[in-house]
């Protein structure tokens, strides 16, 4: 199984340079009405934070002549947002900020009739890695200790996450599969609630994006045990990756901006230019570092190829979970 993001790490500079020549072309098309900026998740989560951050950078630098209007359409695990884009009456003014339910929801809910390959790639803002966390009072300090504890509890070890088929459940299912672990999984409705119940020790471990656990980690309440990234993370240099342990697996949450199906090439070029500028801005680059996101710049063709591999990989992962 290879879920590796492509080896574009460290090519951030190259990526931003690549977007520059488009600028000239982008002059031809301008938005004529406010831009629908749909967020695939509810308020407060990772995707929402990113959308509002991007909006604030666009506003502060006065990059568009019409405002971005962020609207949370998180219903049905993103199904609401996907349908909204699919049926958009004005695809040239309809954008979406995604997470991985972009891949999983159309697979899990085939009745929606969504084919994400019809969507228009705009800009990949970065990818968010996952880390396994425990509470400091658990007495567990490394991954071996975690494995021993889970086996000792024999099915009573409780982990929390954001629900069946969601990103963290895929990671937990993979981990439980390769290490033959029996874990009790409690679904919550958001990463924040999961982190809070780990802090209160209502649950024993979580797999969370670093952004959601950062506050507790800095206060010393959470201990990171294992990263599901390709290489060790800069923010957690002592935390091994699951790859180092001999399992060829990594998993990231995609933080991308996507256009509605049927968006004209001119409009797509315009938005790629705008969000390319956001991506290259100091504000966004600082955000990537502080929230431990990895840069993963790619152009349209590369994004389409990336989507195809992601869909195939998720199809396989989900079929393993659902049985």
């Amino acid at each position: 199984m290879k879920l590796s993001k492509r080896l574009f790490l460290g090519l951030a500079v190259g990526g931003t340079l690549a977007t520059l020549p488009i600028s000239a072309l982008a002059q031809e098309w301008q938005p004529t009405r406010p831009i629908d900026f749909t967020i695939m998740a509810g308020p407060g989560g990772g995707a929402d934070q990113i959308a509002r951050f991007v909006q604030s950078v666009v506003e502060a630098n006065d990059m568009t002549n019409r405002p971005l209007i962020p609207t949370n359409r998180g219903g049905g695990s993103g199904a609401e947002a996907l349908l909204h884009l699919n049926d958009a009456r004005d695809p040239d003014h309809t954008l979406m900020v995604t997470l991985n339910s972009f891949y999983t929801t159309p697979i899990r809910q085939e009745a929606l009739g969504i084919d994400i390959e019809t969507f228009t790639p705009i800009t990949m803002m970065g990818v968010d890695p996952f880390v396994l966390w425990v509470h400091k009072d658990s007495g567990i300090t490394d991954f071996d200790g975690f494995l021993a504890k889970v086996r000792e509890m024999d099915g009573e070890y409780v982990m929390g996450g954001t629900g069946a088929g969601q990103e963290d459940s895929i990671v937990i299912a993979y981990m439980a599969g390769v290490y033959d672990l029996d874990i009790k999984y409690i679904p919550y409705d958001g990463g924040g609630a999961v982190a809070k119940d780990l802090a209160g020790q209502q649950i024993m471990a979580t797999v969370n994006n670093p952004a959601e656990a950062k506050g507790f980690y800095e206060a010393g309440d959470f201990i990171p045990l294992l990263a599901f990234s390709d290489t060790r993370m800069d923010a957690y240099p002592d935390v091994p990756t699951i790859k180092e342990l001999g399992h060829d697996f990594s998993y990231y949450n995609q933080r991308a901006i996507v256009g509605a199906p049927g968006m004209s090439d001119e409009a797509a070029a315009y938005y790629r230019d705008i969000f390319g500028q956001v991506y290259a801005s100091d504000a966004w680059q600082d955000y990537l570092v502080s929230e431990s996101l990895s840069p993963l710049p790619m152009d349209e063709a590369e994004t389409r190829a990336y989507w195809a591999t992601q869909v195939a990989n998720h199809r396989q992962l989900l079929s393993e979970i659902d049985g």
């Binding site: 502060a60 009790k184 506050g215 507790f216 206060a219």
Partner: protein, 503 residues
């Protein structure tokens, strides 16, 4: 004491010209956003978030918190004058605020709401100042079983909300609970009850949609039918003398509800996942339960206005606490504030009080100032809102209809929700005709989405053993009290029947 010197610094920071100006603007903007049906503090804060990029973070959060505060005051205004809750947090205010307005006592209702809000906000801020770290620890000890027990308690107080007809109340609660399950199920990850395969139901049925339908459209049709369009709001007038008289009466008749709301609201607000809406609804229920004259509730009791209004302000301050200390939003609005803090480069969480103490204390200081500013500005605008009521009903009714539709659309920008509002409005009218209480259904749709997942999470934790609700130190007592309250009407019924049988 260190707390007081930090607080003094904080208040000083909040009084700086730029911050004071932002507080005044924020409170006023919030007041009107809150008064607009459908638009609540969530929308206000979300819309104005990008503007805060222009000022330093401590000023930005003070501005957004002032909007949040103002909206809590403003929510009461349309609840009282139009009978439509201005925000979800002000639904309980309509229960008694609207009857008061129809008796020509709109000014009393509005003054009570403003004063109760002020007391609630101030009590909460003082509790926040003194006990923040302790309360954060307490919030963490509330896991799924504790939250569910609390919701059970809330439902138990509702049984008393619907008047004497317990079966109809229970039917109404169940109806609300069914509506609450529509949409995407977090636990299984599957869509449920997507009625007629209409895609709009994937999102679930929004609380505000039901509230506007029931109280905006339904109430209006009901009023028209009852009065044949000749509504008498008995010439409400507003003078300075009247204002003082109203303040006196509000203090005399509303202090009990205010106290209950201030403390209960804060406590519920501090718990992540709950927030100001359940806080205000529960306070109304508890105030009614503890009242010596519960029969006056729903007919224009100042206590019935004071309790939810004190609670929603208190809870909105309370919900800042888990946001700042744990990085966990206690309400949808604080979720957006949290996003804002990340944008400004702050990490909410246990270290924020230490690393960014100026920011935190500036915010706490601003609570005191915002509260004072909000109550003064609110009182100043009351004559304007009361004057609106002097419009003939033939003008007011279409206005309410338009506001309901616009507000319902603004919240989600979806036509699906608009049709639902109309359907719920008609449904509410007929339910009322058959004497079904509507409040329990509205309350159930607020608490259902909290109660259901926590019930299932708890049972997953215990592998299906319901004893988890009884053998935990916090959940246990709450569950027992809730069950007792639910069974209370049954006991009363038995006792009443026995003597009858003996005769």
């Amino acid at each position: 004491m260190e707390v007081f010197s930090s607080l003094a610094d904080g208040i000083f920071l909040a009084l700086m010209p730029i911050n004071l100006m932002l507080i005044l603007i924020g409170v006023t903007v919030g007041l009107f956003i809150g008064a607009m049906p459908g638009l609540g503090s969530v929308n206000g804060v979300a819309i104005l978030l990008p503007i805060t990029f222009l000022v330093p973070p401590s000023s930005a959060i003070i501005f957004l918190a002032a909007i949040y505060y103002g909206a809590m005051y403003g929510g009461a205004i349309s609840s009282v004058t139009l009978g439509i809750p201005g925000a979800s947090t002000a639904v309980a205010t309509t229960f008694d605020g609207r009857p008061l307005a129809l008796q020509g006592r709109a000014s009393l209702a509005l003054v009570t709401a403003a004063l109760a809000s002020f007391v609630g906000g101030t009590v909460a801020t003082v509790l926040f100042t003194l006990f923040a770290p302790l309360l954060a620890t307490m919030a963490l000890s509330f896991g799924p079983p504790e939250i569910f027990a609390l919701m059970l308690l809330a439902f138990a107080t509702f049984v008393g909300l619907g008047g004497d007809d317990i079966p109809k109340t229970i039917f109404s609660i169940c109806f609300g609970l069914v509506l609450a399950t529509v949409g995407f199920d977090t636990i299984s990850g599957e869509p449920r009850l997507v009625l007629f395969d209409i895609q709009g139901f994937l999102r679930g049925i929004g609380f505000i949609v039901l509230a506007i339908g029931v109280y905006g459209i339904g109430e209006m049709i009901w009023t028209i039918e009852q009065t044949r369009g000749e509504v008498t709001t008995t010439n409400p007038k507003m003078t300075a003398k009247g204002l003082i008289a109203d303040s006196k009466e509000a203090t005399k008749k509303g202090w009990k509800g205010t106290l209950i709301g201030s403390f209960l609201g804060f406590f519920v607000g501090v718990l992540p996942a709950a927030g100001a809406t359940p806080g205000s609804l529960m306070s109304y229920g508890v105030a009614k339960m503890l009242s010596r004259t519960p029969q006056e509730y729903g007919k224009g009791s100042p206590d019935g206005v004071a309790a939810p209004e004190a609670a929603n302000n208190s809870a909105s301050t309370g919900s800042m606490l888990p946001m700042l200390t744990l990085g966990i939003p206690g309400s949808p609005t604080t979720a957006i504030l949290l996003g804002g803090m990340v944008i400004w480069g702050l990490t909410p969480g246990p270290r924020l009080f230490l690393d960014q103490s100026e920011f935190v204390w500036g915010l706490i200081g601003s609570f005191y100032i915002s509260n004072l500013a909000a109550v003064l500005i609110n009182l100043a605008f009351i004559p304007l809102f009361v004057w609106m009521l002097r419009m003939p009903f033939t003008i007011l009714a279409p206005l309410i209809f338009v506001l309901s539709i616009v507000g319902g659309f603004a919240a989600s920008r979806s036509m699906h929700d608009l049709w639902l509002i109309v359907i719920f409005g008609l449904g509410a009218f007929f339910m009322r005709k058959f004497d079904y209480p509507l409040a329990p259904a509205v309350l159930a749709i607020v608490l259902g989405p909290i109660a259901e997942p926590t019930l299932r999470q708890s049972l997953l934790l215990s592998s299906g053993d319901p004893m988890i609700f009884f053998n935990r130190p916090i959940a246990g007592p709450i569950t027992v009290i809730a069950i007792f309250l639910i069974l209370l009407p049954a006991f009363k019924l038995l006792r009443r029947k026995k003597p009858a049988a003996a005769n």
